[in-house]
Symmetry: C2
């Protein structure tokens, strides 16, 4: 069992998402988990446009510039299929340790669009995690991540998980 959470209220979780939400059921699920997570933490989603009209290398560079504006002075976790696969318990431990460190007041999860994330973003992140070996749309990655953040707080607080 994890020890109770000590430092708490000043931390904000940011999710930097490249690409819009298109499917209504995803929008509804995202709303649902944001509401649930907000009983534990501040959280916000920052939309970055997916520049699909550009060739992938240029799009990645431009998207990188837009992402960088939001991840200064933040503990940054990039999502990438080739990243470190974590269990839900591992993720809870990571989130708890960020909350308890005095230096980080913002945790940013970065989800790439159709072209993924630039090598620079991955290289300069504090951690690159993988949700799965499967390929997900950015929308599915967001929904899964939110459910796992909610689950992390349930694990950290040792509360039962209600679907």
């Amino acid at each position: 069992m994890l020890q109770p959470l000590k430092i708490y209220t000043d931390v904000i979780i940011k999710i930097i998402l490249v690409g819009k939400l298109r499917n209504d059921f995803i929008k509804k699920g995202v709303e649902e988990y944001l509401k649930r997570i907000k009983t534990y933490s501040k959280i916000e989603i920052i939309d970055i446009p997916n520049l699909t009209h550009l060739p992938p290398p240029q799009a990645l560079i431009r998207e990188e510039e837009l992402i960088k504006r939001h991840i200064k002075e933040s503990h940054n976790i990039a999502l990438d299929r080739e990243g470190v696969p974590l269990t839900s318990y591992d993720l809870a431990i990571k989130i708890k340790s960020f909350y308890e460190s005095s230096k980080d007041f913002c945790i940013s999860f970065i989800i790439g669009g159709i072209f993924g994330l630039s090598e620079n973003i991955k290289k300069n992140s504090d951690l690159v995690i993988s949700l799965s070996k499967l390929t997900f749309t950015h929308e599915f990655a967001l929904l899964i991540l939110l459910e796992q953040i909610y689950r992390s707080f349930k694990i950290i607080k040792n509360e039962p998980y209600h679907y």
Copy 2:
């Protein structure tokens, strides 16, 4: 690129799901992907009650009996966090090969409830796959699996994937 699919119309995909769908956004997402998949294949979801009023070992035995009624004469794929992690492309190749084998006319994916699946179900399945090292609810597992089955058909048919 995968070769075009040869044998097709007689195969049915069954998804055996232990536990009810509770969240509305999941129900909507499931409907959406069933509709999309049906342009490629017959598919049905079979609900098995999750016997949460029983102690886990007894529940698993009873759930196993109920599952077994539906998986005779079927190529069976159990889902388990400790199973083989597949990429979306690996899954597409598996599904394509089942479609092209003359002996299997039913592919069943088996998703456990809150207690997972019995050892017997896993041992007697043709394949045990893992969607992720993360723990998902049975509902999330279903939604992710459906999206991946849809994605598999897009890969098999070499069609662009529209979100």
